[in-house]
Symmetry: D4
Subunit: 228 residues, 8 copies
Amino acid sequence: MHNPHDISSYAHLDLERTARRGYPEAIYCQGKSTEQITGIAAQLGTHPDTVTLFTRADPAHAEAIHTHLPDALHDPTARLLAWPPDPPTPTGGLVVIAAAGTSDLPIAREAWLTARFLGRRTELLVDIGVAGLHRLLGHLDTLRQAQAVIAVAGMDGALPSVIAGLIPAPVIAVPTSIGYGASFGGIAALLTMLNACAPGVAVVNIDNGYGAGHLAAQITCPPAGASS
Amino acid sequence: MHNPHDISSYAHLDLERTARRGYPEAIYCQGKSTEQITGIAAQLGTHPDTVTLFTRADPAHAEAIHTHLPDALHDPTARLLAWPPDPPTPTGGLVVIAAAGTSDLPIAREAWLTARFLGRRTELLVDIGVAGLHRLLGHLDTLRQAQAVIAVAGMDGALPSVIAGLIPAPVIAVPTSIGYGASFGGIAALLTMLNACAPGVAVVNIDNGYGAGHLAAQITCPPAGASS
Amino acid sequence: MHNPHDISSYAHLDLERTARRGYPEAIYCQGKSTEQITGIAAQLGTHPDTVTLFTRADPAHAEAIHTHLPDALHDPTARLLAWPPDPPTPTGGLVVIAAAGTSDLPIAREAWLTARFLGRRTELLVDIGVAGLHRLLGHLDTLRQAQAVIAVAGMDGALPSVIAGLIPAPVIAVPTSIGYGASFGGIAALLTMLNACAPGVAVVNIDNGYGAGHLAAQITCPPAGASS
Amino acid sequence: MHNPHDISSYAHLDLERTARRGYPEAIYCQGKSTEQITGIAAQLGTHPDTVTLFTRADPAHAEAIHTHLPDALHDPTARLLAWPPDPPTPTGGLVVIAAAGTSDLPIAREAWLTARFLGRRTELLVDIGVAGLHRLLGHLDTLRQAQAVIAVAGMDGALPSVIAGLIPAPVIAVPTSIGYGASFGGIAALLTMLNACAPGVAVVNIDNGYGAGHLAAQITCPPAGASS
Amino acid sequence: MHNPHDISSYAHLDLERTARRGYPEAIYCQGKSTEQITGIAAQLGTHPDTVTLFTRADPAHAEAIHTHLPDALHDPTARLLAWPPDPPTPTGGLVVIAAAGTSDLPIAREAWLTARFLGRRTELLVDIGVAGLHRLLGHLDTLRQAQAVIAVAGMDGALPSVIAGLIPAPVIAVPTSIGYGASFGGIAALLTMLNACAPGVAVVNIDNGYGAGHLAAQITCPPAGASS
Amino acid sequence: MHNPHDISSYAHLDLERTARRGYPEAIYCQGKSTEQITGIAAQLGTHPDTVTLFTRADPAHAEAIHTHLPDALHDPTARLLAWPPDPPTPTGGLVVIAAAGTSDLPIAREAWLTARFLGRRTELLVDIGVAGLHRLLGHLDTLRQAQAVIAVAGMDGALPSVIAGLIPAPVIAVPTSIGYGASFGGIAALLTMLNACAPGVAVVNIDNGYGAGHLAAQITCPPAGASS
Amino acid sequence: MHNPHDISSYAHLDLERTARRGYPEAIYCQGKSTEQITGIAAQLGTHPDTVTLFTRADPAHAEAIHTHLPDALHDPTARLLAWPPDPPTPTGGLVVIAAAGTSDLPIAREAWLTARFLGRRTELLVDIGVAGLHRLLGHLDTLRQAQAVIAVAGMDGALPSVIAGLIPAPVIAVPTSIGYGASFGGIAALLTMLNACAPGVAVVNIDNGYGAGHLAAQITCPPAGASS
Amino acid sequence: MHNPHDISSYAHLDLERTARRGYPEAIYCQGKSTEQITGIAAQLGTHPDTVTLFTRADPAHAEAIHTHLPDALHDPTARLLAWPPDPPTPTGGLVVIAAAGTSDLPIAREAWLTARFLGRRTELLVDIGVAGLHRLLGHLDTLRQAQAVIAVAGMDGALPSVIAGLIPAPVIAVPTSIGYGASFGGIAALLTMLNACAPGVAVVNIDNGYGAGHLAAQITCPPAGASS
């Protein structure tokens, strides 16, 4: 009864989102079949005028997307594809992405690529967690130039609190599911960030690099009529 | 052994925060004795050059503050005091605060006064929850003019998802502890907001109106060198 | 000691349920061995006078069922089999099933097929989540004609709240396990629905499409003696 | 700054709800100040054409309501007020409310009065929990006549499962916060009900008697054009 | 450094447990390597004077045990092995094991075999959950003859409450992890049982059939000096 | 509408429970009004042939009970009343109640009095927690004579594990809400007991001294026809 | 039946603890009646040769203690009493207690006094949370001289992670219940500390200042035979 | 875009940790790709002057490490590698590691090897859980000689409470994820340990053998200038 070739039986793409919100829809691949992703990619291939991001794409999803959008950029670490493959010329304020540890890299890269493809200048800093505070303090100049910082951390999730206490810009905190035992798949880091003792911390869902990048792009959006 | 008259035995005010971060320290009154609040107010009274907010102040705290800062503004609904009592001339983008229900008013007002005293233009909309969608849609023009929206909601916490899907600006979502049973003191609303199906939602702690107002002020900050 | 060919050693079918409750028993396949399902299908094959649904059937279960009931209808997306394969002529009120996103389709289809095989008129709407409110509002006429609406949503689970505020009929809310991080396998959506700010929302277990369809069939049951 | 005499500063009554949904708005008193409730009662006093329920009203709320609506019916056990004080002539199907224990009475009465004031025939059965099954089975005839049953239970919350297995009508399950220790304020009963082994159980929030009564009134609504 | 052939480097068997407690030690296989289980079986093979149960044994564990104890009884459904393979002549009171559904069978059989091998008379009843109360009531005579009843149930876990209300003997309640969504791997059933509205319910851990059988054997133990 | 003088409007006493189960109903006072308790005590006063326990009685409940049953025994520490005030001549096996700490005394006494009034020989041991193991080991002879031990403990809840490892009789474990922080009102102790590494531990709800005493009385019940 | 004047009916003091463990027993007052505390103080008054701490003492407990031990030291902020009132001459390594905020002072003082009365050199630093990192870094010399640091923090609980990354000594982390919303009474801080990204963090229960002080005294204990 | 051969794109080794803290950095392998581990091992191979531990290494990680550090010691049970492969000459106090059960061995060995490679004398005791108390008491002499004890336990987690009550040295409690059902992956044991009724218990994260060994090495560190 369920026909995967009839996209209307499983999806209604929100193609007017750019007009309404200023940013295009992204396709969340997890939980969708490769048949569904194939159908969606085929339909999007007829709209080359807008950036589309495919998030949480596993290798089978990526293959399905490349069938219809063969030149789509694919970052396997971030599980993200972007099409058209070249990011727009950046405008607006600087977004700095700071990852606490090596294991947080997939989420940090998802955030970084999202902000970049939504049109911002970006810088990515890795492995600057608070266990070795000198690594963080060594990047203080870069952090203070940002108009928004995305701080990505699992385990104790302490990085956003410390950064927020040092800079004027808002900090978008992304808890990751990195850790074990009482990290509870990122709950510990999530709670740490919601209870940050320094104000100026905006929290997104566990492992939500896409949402963090989107939020950063909105916050650092150039004023209407401005050019970069 | 513990001397409440010696402020150094219980508090170190972070008076250089404005220089470092661009916004002054606020005094979180809950859990502090009236003696401690009195000592802090006395010390702050010697620094009239900066705005100070006292948050989560009960009537006894307010009385203690008024002893040394008799003209401090007091909003009992928001449990907030501000000194000096007049907010600065607003600069930067518009902050709209939207409260889902009447019971969310204390937190909405805390967010509103914080953003206003940190220097922003603000507008407060009340009782526009999603159970009567026409009330929300009737304010769509105002919401679309905002550079940041603070959406305050308890119970199902659905308001930020709906607003975020309609506007370009980031939405700061504040879950409140309003509700009963399976609202679990705001956990239900918090989870709703962390899982918002629309991107562009930044979550703060349950009942954290102050944090939301602070974040909104940072996001809508005028560019360095700009005037409103 | 345990003999899979002796059905009485592992199952007592409730064949009088239709007499007692008006609806037949369904077989919940998950956690049952293929040997057990085979034995049950064999016994049911001797009762062609009543509709039987097999829910949560994986491919091995389906194969076991088809051994004895080769013409049973199988919807792999819904993981459901029905026998006899043709649904009854519909009676009673209209049941509308609304799915928030593409990933919610398996559960929505399980609800849809259950209501249909228990004898109701049904309509299935997909991908009408609140992130793009225009998609939902475009179906308002259909929703207002329903005598019961089944709203299926994961992530923030906000769809039932919004629908319930717009229509007179009861809304059966089905949280799904779609999401990640702080969706906690559907807990976030479940809590949202239990705390719906609009009255008229009846909640069932996470991913319980069968229960929702059953409940909808009961609610929209024609009065005794009536014809559709 | 906050004026309790200006109702628009804290509440927007949804007076068109009856036209849109068929049932009037109810006023949830918990968390509202007596000043706010007074203002709302004053405004509602000018709309005697519709039934208004005030739920979760403590004695101070009741007094505030009686100032402007002196003849409002007040049931202190249910913490509910109704105005005008006489329920409408009943139409539609029978609603049976079953309370497991004496301590569940406040919630059972809230459900009962809600269904009655929204226009239904009702019957209330008390202290028929499953620990003494004969008490429940003695009411089986009444339960089987209902078009909807509201089952109210705390502690183990087993009552709805058992009733649903015995009757054709849907069962609205209301977990209560009655219990101690691992009842966790009603969570145990809530989970029991969400996992009811018998289909046909619709769950509402813990202690949500109002919601259960509203839902029952919707389910048992007479067909358009019918008379009782 | 770690030598699996030297049993003292990983296990100290509690061989005096029968003298101290009256019941022998059982070997919990889960989490132990096949090398470790092999070593333990070898050592136990030199103590044929006592019953040994191996619980939670997967097929590889079973194979390892059969290497040294080739005639050990193996019940794959219960994941249990017993050696020597013949249960003792029963003494003491009757233990009735009641399983709510087919899927609860593995745990029910684990409890049944444990009680039987620890020396009791037993009877096993399956698929008598409360959704079809007549199935349970049909076994009332058997249940009332028991000196201890083990009630095994997942999902709503309501079976022990209902049985306990009908009989004089204590009921040992075993929650199982059968269910989905808000059953949370057996937490829902566990809480139901801890909150049973009928007194006389003793709860053990989720899926702990072994513990239930052991406890039943202790409760129905013949008085010192008695014969069955 | 609700008449506290008409007991049938709020309670149906289960007076045939002794015939059905062998033990009388107890009245759980918490959550019942003094008017309701007064009505129940009045009705029970006409049934002096059976023991009645009133549990979780606060001073107002006790006063209400004494109005109609002036000679009822009242143990304020245990919050328990018994009527008639003299316990029956003991029969059956010995029940030993062991309390880990002084703060567990209220629950231990509730268990002790329940077992005693349901007809058993009892012994109460206090402050024998595992932090000073010599205190526990000093009572080993008494513990080994019991036919059932009730072990009452809050905080780490380790007492039942240790006792169960030392004796042949079953141990009824009662977690108490004594503790702070991560004891979570008794959850820590509850989980410890459910996971006891020694078999033979039967768990009841947090602070459920009554249930433990009832269960112990059932377990140590003399065989039908026996005399003590 | 319960005689508060007979101490053996409710408490067995562990007077040999000093011999066995090297540190005396402390009396946890919470949950004990003033009668019980009076009895315990009376008995301890006959053992002036050892230090006794009374923890979690409210004013009524303090008054009861002073009846028999009138010169006992009382620190109301820490809710602690010590007798005899003068701490011993310090030996062993330095214990530094660091409190993140003013509101953490009660727990920090409890830890400080415990370590001091168990015989250590101590230093107390307050309000050095990570929101203003310069305050912490300004005390780095002191922190690096410690043989054990006790870090006390609520809200995000990030202080121990940051300190542990900077010094060689072990850090005892004490989460406090300070905070609101998603701090969940200290759970957030507890989880942060358990997941500290820097090794060398030992966690105790929420608000357990006494335990932290005791542990610090053990860790910094002088070697047998040494003098300070 | 992400180059695994450029270590600076994913990791910043904290090589100065030994100077700052006295102990070298360890590499947590879980969540890192074999390419990343290969790169890290290559860089560390140029620093043979310090001990490096690789924790949570699966076989693929181990193979990657051996590519560049072929003589690294590998303990598969503990999932740990050490390089250089010979532990340093021990100094400082004795560390005793006590494992409750056979299944706790991997974590106990991780703790043991960590303490040993960080320079301490160690002794490992296995399968001495409290279910057979004589096994623990038989090792009392060894336990009383320790300057720090690491107690490793899953399930009820009662071992640290019992040990701490018997000895003067601090006990580092390591909850393990061994267990099932309500052990919740180690939460039960974690809570038991946080609520230990005996003071002197320091808790680390679930399964954190490395952290326990590190902490023990710090606690038993010889005084500056001392020799073992």
